[in-house]
């Protein structure tokens, strides 16, 4: 690990401007680090050749003083973003050889600002999971904790991206968050995970899991970096009918940390949940820092929050069951060797999809089927309205809400969770923001006694990313996590 890989995006941009080192050196150092950490299995596909080419081009651009916003910055991309001519698999057997001939809007935006894609990262298959154990390409390992002999769960579905950033093999990474898929792995790995407002970033080119919930976001080591990436990722895209025309308020960089006079909500319902004591303490600490910084703490009610998980699993499974119907091996992807059309469909899909994906498709089919649509799916849509309304009401009283990101820190990797519900319970604090479509950021604030990160989540009203970044940055400074992390010499 060298200096070039431990700096942040913000710092790197400054160094590159001052020509302290070249892009080629920067990218080279990162590939070296990727190689060093390959046992973590964070990456599926390396983009070495094209990345080195781009690095040279970036260096010329810098020499000509035409530096773009993210010129030369190495970014890892979750493997559910279609990247033109780079294999994109969704960590699934059914797409293990798929090479898209088109680019997702978010990666296009990033490339247009000069960033360099180093590789595609592993995820839970099609984004379904919170452990990155369901990837066709094998489990991803999270190297946190004092015991270097034991790996932990990186979280999911953006486990690969989170590990890439936390292990310094990437400066920043793209992820997607449907029910917590950026925030939860960020929490388990000790990095910053940002899920913007639904509609802020285009979904064009992202392999859909649950259309009304999916949102592109970032994994970075600092809040500042998250806002730098957001500025480039976000755009109104007419190719996406759910894309928002709401322009990104001028993200003033650096972000101010003045949180005095802000009202910060503490949701009372969640205090009753089963939360690991270290995480509960981090929550309390964060609240205390905010109060000391001049903010007002306000207890708020989110009366329908207890139905969030059910609502989420019904809606996301239903949408997924339909979104995954296009995978039949006929026009692209894995195709079974069958001489009968029905077998072709059934075998391509049954062989091509993993267990969790098939389970979610089945649940989704069930809740949409005749006799169940009204009481499950339609009903869930209505409950979702109520959950949204809870937040609208809360934000009349407060500017932001803080709560834990996960109920417990990263469990050991080899702990067997055969029970899907246990896995789904991971998302208890993250799904509400997904259902309401509001922005949320997770940031690491401390470590457990055995060296696993604890994280806090900040949620804000729709399109008010500025507010959550501000509060996040404040907490980040107060926590000084990077210092704690370095002291622990996690790696």
């Amino acid at each position: 690990m060298n200096e070039l890989t431990t700096i942040n995006i913000h710092e790197a941009i400054n160094h590159l401007k001052k020509k302290d080192f070249s892009v080629l050196e920067l990218i080279g150092a990162h590939f070296k680090r990727i190689e060093e950490t390959k046992h973590l299995n964070a990456f599926i596909t390396s983009n070495y050749d094209k990345a080195m080419d781009s690095a040279k081009k970036s260096d010329s651009i810098i020499r000509e003083n035409k530096m773009r916003n993210l010129e030369g910055i190495p970014i890892a991309v979750k493997d559910n973003f279609c990247t033109k001519n780079i294999r994109t698999t969704a960590s699934s057997k059914i797409l293990h050889n798929f090479v898209p001939q088109y680019e997702s809007t978010v990666t296009r935006n990033m490339l247009n600002e000069g960033c360099i894609i180093t590789g595609k990262t592993s995820l839970d298959e099609f984004g379904m999971g919170s452990s990155n154990k369901t990837s066709f390409f094998g489990k991803v390992k999270n190297p946190v904790g004092k015991n270097k002999m034991e790996y932990h769960v990186p979280g999911g579905s953006s486990g690969g991206s989170a590990v890439a950033v936390s292990s310094f093999s990437s400066m920043g990474a793209l992820g997607t968050d449907t029910g917590g898929s950026i925030r939860q792995p960020a929490a388990f790995c000790g990095v910053v995970g940002l899920k913007p407002t639904y509609g802020r970033c285009s979904r064009f080119g992202i392999m859909a899991f649950a259309s009304s919930l999916d949102q592109a976001g970032s994994l970075t080591r600092t809040v500042e970096d998250a806002s730098i990436m957001l500025r480039t990722m976000a755009s109104y895209d007419k190719k996406d009918s759910t894309s928002s025309r709401n322009s990104l308020e001028n993200l003033l960089l650096p972000i101010s940390e003045d949180i005095s006079k802000l009202n910060i909500g503490i949701p009372t319902e969640y205090m009753k949940e089963n939360i690991a004591s270290d995480i509960f303490n981090s929550w309390e600490m964060s609240a205390k820092w905010l109060k000391e910084g001049g903010a007002n703490l306000v207890e708020i009610d989110l009366p329908h929050s207890k139905y969030s998980l059910s609502t989420y699993y019904i809606i996301s499974s239903a949408e997924a069951s339909s979104n995954l119907s296009r995978y039949d091996g006929i026009r692209f992807g894995y195709r079974s060797n069958d001489n009968n059309i029905k077998d072709l469909y059934v075998n391509s899909r049954s062989d091509g999809f993993g267990e969790e994906v098939k389970r979610r498709i089945m649940i989704g089919t069930y809740v949409l089927s005749k006799g169940h649509y009204d009481s499950y799916y339609l009903h869930a849509l209505k409950v979702r309205q109520l959950i949204k309304q809870d937040f609208i009401n809360a934000f009349k009283k407060v500017d932001a809400i803080i709560l834990p990101t996960t109920p417990y820190p990263a469990p050991p990797l080899n702990k067997n969770t055969d029970n899907p519900i246990e896995m789904y319970m991971n998302d208890i604090f993250t799904v509400p923001a997904s259902l309401a479509g509001i922005p949320a950021i997770s940031l690491p604030v401390g470590l457990t006694k055995d060296g696993r990160p604890t994280s806090i989540q900040v949620m804000g009203p729709s399109f008010k990313e500025n507010t959550i970044l501000k509060v996040g940055k404040f907490i980040e400074t107060a926590a000084n996590f990077s210092k704690i992390k370095n002291q622990e010499k996690m790696l």
Binding site: L95, D240, T242, S321, R326, N339, L368, S369, Y373, Y377
Partner: protein, 502 residues
Amino acid sequence: MTKESSDKTNKSGSNIGNEWEMAIGLEIHAQITSTTKLFSCATTVFGKQPNSQVSLLDAGFPGTLPVINDFCIEQAVKTGLALNGKVNNISNFDRKNYFYPDLPLGYQISQFYNPIISDGSVTIDINNIKKNISLDHIHIEQDAGKSIHDLHPNKTLIDLNRSGVPLMEIVTKPEMKSSEEAMSFVKKLRSILRYLGTCNGNMEKGNLRIDLNISVNKVGDELGTRVEIKNLNSIRFMNLAIDYEVNRQIKMLDNNDKVQQETRLFDPIKYITKKMRSKEDSQDYRYFPDPDLPPIILSNNYISKVKESIAELPDSKQMRFMKEYSLSKYDSSILVSEKSYSTYFEESLKNNKFLESNQSDVAKITANLLTGTIFSLLKKDNMSIEESKISEKDLSYIVEHVHKSEISNHIAKGIINTVWDTGEDIEYSVHKAKSEQNDDRLEYVVEDVLDKNKQKVEEYNKGKLKLFDFFIGMAMKNTRGKADPVAVRKILTKKLSSEKYR
């Protein structure tokens, strides 16, 4: 008709043999006249090389998303208004989920819970009796691609050019009681759609397809179990399917068998319907609102604007023709059956200098020559009216002369035929005929003078040669001085030396 039909089918009434009656509901799939597809920017052009009009979305590639074509919404609203339907201010798209190789997404984007148009009606006219056929609703949806089963012995080939093409599905209530009514409905609907320009109604090209729902019941009883016959692409096939199906169902019920609710296909060679092997009834489409598409919210302002853009429709045009031009119901119905006919007709009238002074005469002559002669020629040469060799102006020129009695209707027909077949100059043709007719008339005028002045003729024949000038004078007077004196002289000379007057 084939041996499959029996005489239980009474074509002219709603009762089949007085014991049974049928109930027909139709689902018409009408392709919207847009340049591009419903959600993708690929074109809708017919007949191109396979898979050349396919966007990534039409092929269901991962990460692709639908974006609605505003023009299609407008056409659906226009159609709904013209069919007396209610335009819903809020409607949305739903996914209809099922697997089939020509359905790349594994679902069709359609409307199920909240269609864009509710209700509506179409008035049909059978033997001078008007009947209102109610619509249940109209919705917008995507078409699927094409599966080709007969190019390869053990493979089916898929062409996705048609995948995503925009359709309006117009659904009627089961109020039609005979194949005549069904046929009349389809014709009327087609005419309205063509008038609006929202659908070309070309059944051969597949841009109007019919799904038929039909049941039979004993007169006085409730409606029977309905059977669906899918994908009829001509009115003739629809009629044959109705006839066959009605007989099939009656036979079953007569034998105390139950009619199964099922989907069948029409065999265009054997003229029978066959059950589709896939169990349509066991399908569960799991409709749910498409999360990729926000609802369609239409303001009353928008709806009014679209309403204003609707030009006169066939029924009102027909009434106006009957009133304004004193045309018969029959003549006016032919003229309004296609918008292009009525446009041609009125353009021709506009160019006629006698329109104001004698509207009904001009209109009648024009209508007569158009529907009688010109239409036959168009049919003979398989041309559309836009390709007519006689222009609107040409026709009004001819009509002017007929109106002035300078040429007869009969002669006018001849002129049209000649000009059509030989390309002869129309003014020349009319002038030639005029003078020929003048000569004929002149002969008549002269004879008339001679007949009315028998005594003077006798005197002339006895030697009073001065009377020759008298006869000329009278003839000139009778033609109000318009006759050519040289011609009159010539004819008079001829007549006076003829057997009749010597």
